[in-house]
Amino acid sequence: MMIDIQGVSKSFGTHKVLNEASLKIERGTTCVIIGRSGCGKSVLLKHIVGILHPDQGKVFVDGKEVSCLNEAGMNALRMKIGMVFQGGALFDSLTVGENVGFGLIEHRKIGQRELLERVEESLCMVGLCGIANLMPSELSGGMKKRVSLARALCIKPELILYDEPTTGVDPITAASINELIKSLHDKLQVTSIVVTHDMVSAYTVADRIAMLYQGKIIADGSPQEIQSSTHPVVHQFINGLAQGPITETLDHDSRIKQ
């Protein structure tokens, strides 16, 4: 699936989160979006599945403008997209198995046997075989995140949006999630967008890295290009420096407020 974000602006009240952000993602590539906490990465992802609608600008997925789709068109599109929410967003009144199979149960006419197989298969892909009968409240934070990933995988999507898939899981699991993202990309040509703070994971999975800063995509290129970027903001972020333009503007802003 190809994604084309054209000049999207979004405000909440007076707070302008996205300010004419533009980004193009080719079919079958993995694009990593980096940026500081609270800069609007999750908001950007929600525009792609049409949970949020842009104040200005357009989002095209597969050539169709997302906010102009009717209900049937939107549902058809969403059945091709898997989204892993930052906090998991598991339905806590349903079991893990029902959560993972939710899309299939609601929309595809498939038999009980096949459903159970698909659910178990998805859970095994994230390393959580045999927990289908637990409730989400019985899981740890990292397990919830992986179940959420399994739920996204279960509908066999063409596009997967990962909102910080490796945050809050141990390094070994994080590495296996990275492997999973890579193998989906290599074997099934799934298009992926990965939001992450973890630069190691970003370099492992990315075909492209884009950086969101002050509501705009300020840099967009291959991992090598980003790594050798001379843009001061990008440089500070990927090297995790305490001093630099990002923190200076913050200091500046807070001085103005005082």
């Binding site: 929600k46 599945v49 049409g50 949970i51 209900e71 939107m74 549902n75 058809a76 969403r78 059945m79 997209i81 989204m83 929410f85 930052q86 906090g87 967003a89 598991l90 339905f91 806590d92 009144s93 939710f102 899309g103 609601e106 929309h107 739920r151 509908i155």
Partner: protein
């Protein structure tokens, strides 16, 4: 200097919130009613909600209506004994319970018990992005969450009310027969004599609307939660208070209409 300004800003905010509420409720109600009649129909989800709203409310409804029956019998007895016409306690209690007290008390109990639970549940789903997750799984949250609660509440409230009427009358019967010395056969006879079908009908018909009010208000407040756990708490309070007010207003409206329609 600042006071009058602040006053008008406050009024403005209240008016704005009110209009937002009315618009949102009308929107939610129309979408819900439309989606209720669109396939697919998920019966088991309605049954689950019907159990939560109806069956699980039986203990508290029994308790409250039994005591209302006791109280009402004793209070009317106070006056009727002075008039020397104790036997009319039966007819008064029957009419008041079936026409007014049964429906309203049941609706208020359900609003406090079920409405609050719905707001808290949907509200915490909202703050943990579960509602967003439903949408990304191509499921309409109104169809999935509101429709079953709407159908369950508007069907269960009349049934619960009917049950409350019976228990309330039974409560009053206990007082009259065992404390005031009215004969059992006489009490039953007078009760059935006083009640007309239209009393029962108008009493139960309005509870269908009370059920809808509870469903719409509690779901609307749940969907509109902002600001984490604290927001859920505030929304729950607001949901119960708003339901109470709307139920009483709606009751007044229906009582007036029925008064002129079925004199």
């Amino acid at each position: 200097m600042k006071m009058p300004q602040q006053f008008f800003i406050n009024i403005g905010q209240k008016v704005f919130y009110f209009l937002y509420f009315v618009g949102g409720m009308v929107n939610l109600a129309s979408q819900t009613i439309y989606l209720t009649f669109m396939p697919p129909y998920k019966k088991d989800r309605i049954m689950e909600q019907a159990k939560k709203a109806g069956f699980d409310s039986l203990p508290i409804v029994s308790l409250v209506s039994l005591f209302i029956g006791f109280i009402f019998a004793l209070q009317t007895a106070y006056f009727m004994q002075r008039m020397g016409s104790e036997i009319y306690i039966a007819s008064l209690v029957a009419l008041a319970l079936v026409r007014e007290l049964g429906p309203v008390i049941t609706a208020l109990v359900v609003a406090g018990r079920v409405g609050a639970a719905i707001t808290a549940e949907l509200g915490s789903m909202q703050v943990t992005e579960q509602i967003d997750a439903l949408e990304t799984l191509a499921t309409n949250p109104i169809k999935y969450l509101v429709v079953p609660r709407f159908v369950a509440l508007s069907l269960m409230l009349p049934l619960l009310t009917l049950y409350a009427d019976i228990i309330g009358i039974f409560g009053s019967y206990l007082i009259c027969v065992y404390k005031l010395g009215i004969s059992s056969g006489m009490y039953i006879h007078v009760t059935f004599d006083a009640l007309l079908y239209k009393d029962l009908f108008t009493g139960l018909l309005k509870t269908v609307f009370f059920g809808m009010i509870i469903a719409f208000v509690s779901c609307f407040e749940g969907f509109n939660v902002e600001g984490g756990a604290e927001g859920v708490g505030q929304a729950t309070t607001r949901s119960v208070v708003t339901s109470f007010i709307l139920i009483i207003m709606c009751d007044c409206f229906f009582t007036a209409i029925f008064y002129f329609l079925f004199p």
